[in-house]
């Protein structure tokens, strides 16, 4: 009966360990603006986005009968990064996005005036193309901010609640077991099981997300990088937990108590 209760409680503890490891990773990655900015940089998102914007400009200019390259050097990659940072601020810090790159319309107009009498209208349309690529939809981005804040606080609360419940159940399990050697062994089993589950998650997900395409190539590149990075982190934690767990199991089976030694002697 005691063993059955310990087994059931262990199953809960393993699930909690797995959940808490995933939540901690998510709160230190996806929920942090600095992580997203670094990931976008490493995944080549800004270059892809720049190519996508230039291609759309070229299509528009072709329709207007203007040669491609007329808008070369319209903006720098640093200015593009700054605009993306504004978008992320709207999401992570609930700042409202109103206008992105307000200088762009005037710049486009001045560059196109030598090619067409319709520079004003084209400038407005191209500025909208740029804003759409950088912000996608300011209405949706501005709406995400408060929901994001709520999600962050829910996840942080979740981590605290799960940690408290985990600790209580672990104390109950240890009290039922009673024997220190067996407690060490049991903790080792918990760590190995949840560690292996983390590793299995990586194997199951694997390269599943490596070819997704959402909205556009730039966005997809960023998303793929972030998802794969998070899954790799989960696997690293899994490997660490498995190794530490095996050490605990070995110690738990080799640790001699003073009483046992005296009995053998």
């Amino acid at each position: 009966m005691k063993k059955a209760i310990i087994s059931i409680l262990n199953l809960f503890l393993i699930i909690m360990l797995l959940t808490i490891s995933i939540l901690v990773i998510i709160s230190n990655t996806v929920l942090k603006k600095s992580y997203i900015e670094t990931s976008l940089e490493k995944s080549g998102f800004y270059d892809e986005l720049n190519i996508a914007i230039q291609n759309e400009f070229d299509i528009y200019l072709a329709q207007a009968g203007i040669k491609s390259g007329a808008l070369k050097n319209l903006y720098t990659i640093e200015e593009l990064k700054s605009d993306i940072s504004n978008t992320l601020d709207a999401i992570y810090n609930s700042k409202t996005i109103n206008v992105i790159s307000s200088f762009m319309k005037e710049k486009i107009k001045s560059k196109l005036q030598t090619y067409t009498n319709n520079a004003e209208a084209i400038a407005i349309n191209l500025t909208n193309v740029y804003n759409k690529k950088v912000v996608i939809s300011s209405k949706h981005i501005n709406a995400i901010g408060p929901k994001f804040e709520k999600m962050v606080s829910m996840i942080k609360m979740g981590i605290i609640v799960i940690a408290i419940v985990f600790s209580i159940i672990l104390v109950i399990v240890c009290a039922i077991i009673g024997n220190f050697k067996v407690i060490i062994n049991n903790i080792g089993i918990l760590l190995v099981s949840s560690g292996l589950l983390d590793i299995i998650l990586k194997i199951l997900i694997g390269s599943k997300f490596s070819y997704i395409f959402l909205l556009n190539q730039a966005f997809s590149t960023g998303i793929i990088y972030i998802i794969n990075n998070i899954v790799d982190k989960i696997m690293s934690i899994g490997i660490g937990a498995t190794v530490i767990g095996i050490v605990f199991i070995i110690c738990g089976n080799f640790k001699e108590t003073k009483n046992n030694k005296e009995m053998e002697n």
Partner: protein, 198 residues
Amino acid sequence: MKNKVISIIQSLLCCVIYIAIIYVTVMLLAGKYISEANSYIDLISTKEGDTQNTKLELGTNGLKLRLEYGSTYGRITVPSVSIDLPLYFGNSLEILKDGVGQSTRAYCPGEGKTIILNGHNTDKMLKKLYKVSKNDIILINTEYGTYRYAVYDMKVITEKDIEIETDSESLVVYTNYPENDVGSTNRIYAVYANLVNN
């Protein structure tokens, strides 16, 4: 020592049993949702290998032609609306600046299945596709033969609605929708045609 090793192995087996119980429980409780999630991920994924370096060797009817991604291998002509454009293998944005692109996920003329072509809705490209009518002829002249298709339908769809594995050879040519929208659009204006002769 032997007992301790056995004890360690028992502990590790215990871990495996716990993992199996959790895995089976999750699959029983949430298997349906996991399966739906997998289907959705497949739906939004491009196919592995659908890259710039794809080459296709045609073996149909004794043809031996290696098509390199980004190369031009023919022309598409629609006499009724004066469309006459180069045809490229692949449909990246770079290719679409110069002509009509062919989806590498579908088939080539002569292979007996669906061919998917697309181009920008600009005056120099496929804007005139909106003026194509039923029974109009679309000609595809390739390095290995000329193929003639008769238009039987025109509709507004999304790219994912196009069926690739068909029983007979058909052609789908599409451009952006609505007619005056530029850049990326979710919906497309597609013209469907069946092979008449080659």
